[in-house]
């Protein structure tokens, strides 16, 4: 079966500090990978998606970036955090392993607080 991991689970960072959030998927190959953000009391905002190693598409221009150094690894980064970067960050994957590429499966999330 497939599993998706995210770490850390919670993070408190000062404004202006760097960020690195990691997501890994097990039990499947060549998944599509996604990063979302949920601000308090708001819906899901798609930040980045990737259909393969080194292939990143950005949905919202901002001070965040994403990388996919390995097939099942997706990293969200920032060089300098802003207060507005606070939120709940979710990683998700989709693929043919479950019979179709359409639904996405989500990780447990990372709660980021920027002070």
């Amino acid at each position: 079966s497939q599993t998706i991991h995210q770490w850390p689970a919670t993070l408190v960072q000062p404004v202006g500090s760097p960020l690195s959030l990691e997501c890994t998927v097990e039990g499947t190959s060549n998944p599509n990978l996604y990063w979302y953000r949920q601000a308090a009391g708001r819906g899901l905002q798609l930040l980045f998606y990737s259909v393969g190693i080194g292939q990143i598409s950005s949905e919202v221009p901002q001070n965040l970036s994403a990388s996919r150094p390995q097939d099942r690894q997706f990293i969200l980064s920032s060089k300098k955090l802003l207060l507005s970067d606070s939120g709940f960050y979710l990683c998700a994957w989709s693929g043919y392993a479950t019979g179709g590429p359409f639904e996405q499966f989500f990780g447990p999330g990372t709660r980021l607080t920027v002070l």
């Binding site: 996604y34 819906g43 899901l44 639904e103 989500f106 999330g109």
Partner: protein, 114 residues
């Protein structure tokens, strides 16, 4: 561009009462529809999905949804809710394509009161 509208941001109900959470989507040649549930401080869990076939879809935890093409709706229902059903519910659609992005509604907070 696709859009998904969840008509109610909050739905309070009493335990053991029936509930319907409403979702409308923008029409597309082909559409795939999903309902997700999110408990506090957790990721999203897939409740059910409509890809093709029968318009009545049954999911986990006793939930079901009906795909209505003429009304472009995909409402979620449960005949009798429990306290443990208190959570945020998201409707989502996907029109295919090579990246398989989902379009999410803004969510409905279901609160089940004793």
């Amino acid at each position: 561009a696709q859009s998904v509208t969840q008509l109610d941001s909050q739905v309070p109900v009493f335990e053991e009462a029936p509930v319907e959470l409403r979702c409308n989507y923008s029409s597309s040649v082909s559409v795939y529809l999903f309902w997700y549930v999110q408990y506090p401080n957790q990721g999203l869990q897939l409740l059910l999905k409509y890809l093709s076939g029968s318009t009545l879809v049954k999911g986990i935890n006793g939930f079901e949804a009906e795909f209505n093409k003429s009304q472009t709706s995909f409402h979620l229902r449960k005949p009798s809710v429990h306290i443990s059903d208190t959570a945020e519910y998201f409707c989502a659609s996907n029109s295919g394509g090579s990246n398989y992005k989902l379009t999410f509604g803004k969510g409905t907070l279901l609160t089940v009161n004793p």
